[in-house]
């Protein structure tokens, strides 16, 4: 069973609501207790006053104070003690053994005590003055001390009831709000669930990802939707590209094989002279060479692409670029001459890069070959090496040939792309050269750019990371 985000959130919400309910109930109980206690105290005060009113002088000479119980109307369960100013007891409830002595001290006006299982709360009034209304000749004012306590059972019950009510109400509300929260959270999370369902539907066979409209509108989900869309789109394009280039490679191979096969079949379809056979075999061999070149090109491209992705580890040396370029120019001298194209090599300084000599040679030869093939007779192809930038060495191959139409320019580095297929097929290219160059250059952390204007020529720029000093290992 997997953790459910929904359950987690609902649990968190319910827990917080429960805490809130408990806190609220406690607060209500405490507050009502304070209020009720103060009301209780006022009630006690009132009873004390009525006790005071019931105290008067005795009719006899002693002038002692007595409590007129007939004038007194207090609940019989209440506890009462009255002393005169001399400290002698005037009256004590028969069911009481007296207030605790500490209470009599004037420090605290209230006290609490327990008798049996009943709690009492009482107050002590010190030196209360007696008004004897029947006595027309008031002598000196007499004072008494009254301790009065009443059972708090009713008070406790009321507090308990308030607490009970608050608890039940809280629990009911908790249930209601819990349901509401669960519903709201489920609803709120539904775009995410929809999104997850939609995302789960995507597979290698089916790339269509149509995120629910709600998910896109949510601030938290929108980045996820965007990221998913971008990733899936990119992946799909990569897959499509891969499939396309596999199909392209297969097409090229099939064509090359078809040519070779048809050459041989043509040769064998009727009896021929030795001379005709020799010619036919030469043709078939040419076709074989083409096939071989195609297979080699495809292989070196996939190797170079693997290096570009994983980095090339072996066969890396410190190479003098000027020397490497010079050699390529020399290699292509014959081809250039046969097409009456002048090859120019310009270098201002010694430049060192880390690469494999063979790889770099492949790049220069490819670029120069392209340039020569697309140059009109009498024009110049130049290869320039410059190290004006401290970080990069720049190698530029420039021709003043036919150029590449703007609509083809973005695709020239893709496999099996040809500016104009008819003319370059005639020249025997497969559209692999530039892809190989790009993959090789990228394997050495460089990059390659192409600039071209239709009709005015093409310039290929190669940037390779410069190495500051040749170590002795060279």
């Amino acid at each position: 069973m997997k953790d459910s985000l929904r359950k987690q959130i609902i649990t968190a919400v319910l827990l917080s609501q429960l805490l809130l309910a408990i806190g609220l109930t406690v607060a209500i109980v405490l507050y009502s207790r304070v209020q009720l206690l103060s009301a209780f105290n006022i009630m006690l005060q009132g009873r004390t006053d009525s006790v005071l009113a019931a105290i008067h002088d005795a009719e006899d000479e002693t002038k002692t104070l007595i409590l007129d119980r007939e004038r007194l109307s207090i609940p019989s369960s209440d506890l009462l003690e009255v002393w005169d100013e001399n400290g002698s007891l005037i009256w004590r409830s028969p069911n009481w053994s007296g207030a605790p002595s500490v209470v009599i001290a004037p420090s605290s006006p209230t006290f609490e005590l327990t008798r049996g299982r009943v709690s009492y709360r009482g107050i002590v009034v010190h030196k209360a003055t007696i008004f004897d209304e029947e006595d027309n000749d008031p002598g000196p004012l007499r004072k008494v001390t009254i301790a009065y306590a009443s059972s708090t059972r009713e008070l406790d019950e009321r507090i308990f009831r308030i607490g009970l009510f608050a608890t039940i109400a809280s629990l009911l509300l908790l249930c209601l709000t819990g349901l509401f929260a669960a519903y709201g959270i489920s609803r709120g999370l539904s775009p995410m669930q929809e999104l997850a369902k939609e995302a789960a539907r995507v597979s290698i066979r089916n790339w269509t990802f149509s995120p629910p409209h709600d998910a896109r509108k949510k601030r938290e989900l929108a980045p996820l939707v965007d990221a998913l869309e971008a990733t899936l789109g990119g992946l799909q394009r990569a897959f499509d590209r891969e499939r396309e280039s596999t199909a392209d490679a297969a097409h090229e191979l099939k064509t090359a094989v078809a040519i070779l096969k048809s050459s041989l079949q043509l040769l064998s379809c009727q009896p021929r002279s030795t001379e005709e056979y020799r010619k036919g075999l030469d043709h078939a061999l040419e076709d074989c060479d083409r096939l071989e070149a195609l297979v080699c090109g495809t292989l070196s491209l996939s190797c170079a692409q693997q290096w570009a992705e994983e980095g090339k580890a072996d066969d890396i040396q410190f190479i003098d670029l000027v020397n490497s370029c010079e050699q390529s120019v020399a290699d292509l001298h014959a081809l250039a001459q046969s097409r009456s194209v002048e090859l120019q090599f310009l270098a201002n300084d010694e430049c060192v890069v880390r690469a494999s000599r063979v790889d770099l040679q492949t790049v220069w030869v490819n670029l120069l070959q392209n340039a020569i093939q697309h140059s009109p007779p009498g024009s110049t192809v130049s290869l320039r090496v410059s190290s004006s930038d401290p970080d990069f060495v720049l190698i530029a191959v420039e021709d003043s040939g036919t150029g590449i139409p703007a609509k083809h320019l973005p695709y020239v580095f893709e496999r099996f792309r040809r500016g104009d297929s008819a003319s370059s097929r005639a020249a025997g290219s497969f559209g692999l050269g530039l892809s190989i160059c790009k993959a090789i250059i990228e394997a050495y952390d460089g990059h390659i750019e192409i600039e071209s204007a239709d009709g005015t020529g093409t310039r290929v720029l190669v940037f390779l990371p410069a190495v500051s000093k040749v170590p002795s290992a060279e």
Partner: protein, 231 residues
Amino acid sequence: MRALVVEDEKRLGQNVADGLRQCAGYAVDLADDGESGLFMAESNEYDLVVLDLMLPKLPGPVLLERYRRSGHEAPVLVLTARNDKQSIIRLLNAGADDYLSKPFDLGELVARAKALVRRGKGKPQPVLSIGNLEINVAERSVKKAGRLVELLPMEYRVLEYLASRSRAVVSKTELLEHLYDYNWEKFGNVIEVYISGLRKKIDSGSRTKLIHTLRGHGYVLRVEANAGLDQ
């Protein structure tokens, strides 16, 4: 018969053209891109078009669609590198008559080409008979009353074309159109030379003549009951 091969892979196109020339005896024109292919297909009378699909300038399917829309009826044999059924179905529905996927067998291509041409002329059987004359298109052999007749290649081609249109009058221009490729200088009297050669080899010494000339109209290959029209 005259065929057009539209193929951008020059070597392959050359081989297909040579195959059709040498093994089927067709006159073959070669176009190496879609645009020139369409232009040639529309401006000449072909008995067969062999069409590659991936062409520069104008893709094969578009060429096919335009060719058919302009009312041309020559059978079209499509060469495709793709083998997926959907694109083949689409091509056949767009007016192609047959297809071969690369790499194909040149012998098969030639055989299919011949079959397509036969069917295109409404003569599905590989042996055409007119009277006691039998022309085996597959073997390119001719028999008269059971005996093999030796013909020059050009004579055979004239006879094959006349037989494929048997009982219809074929003008000299039509013969020239269908027997020579684009690069040939067209001289009308060349045809007359071959016709007279054919007459000597087929009609001489037999009572019912098969090759007839309709003055000002052309030639017809049929068993003629009425000898009055005969020259």
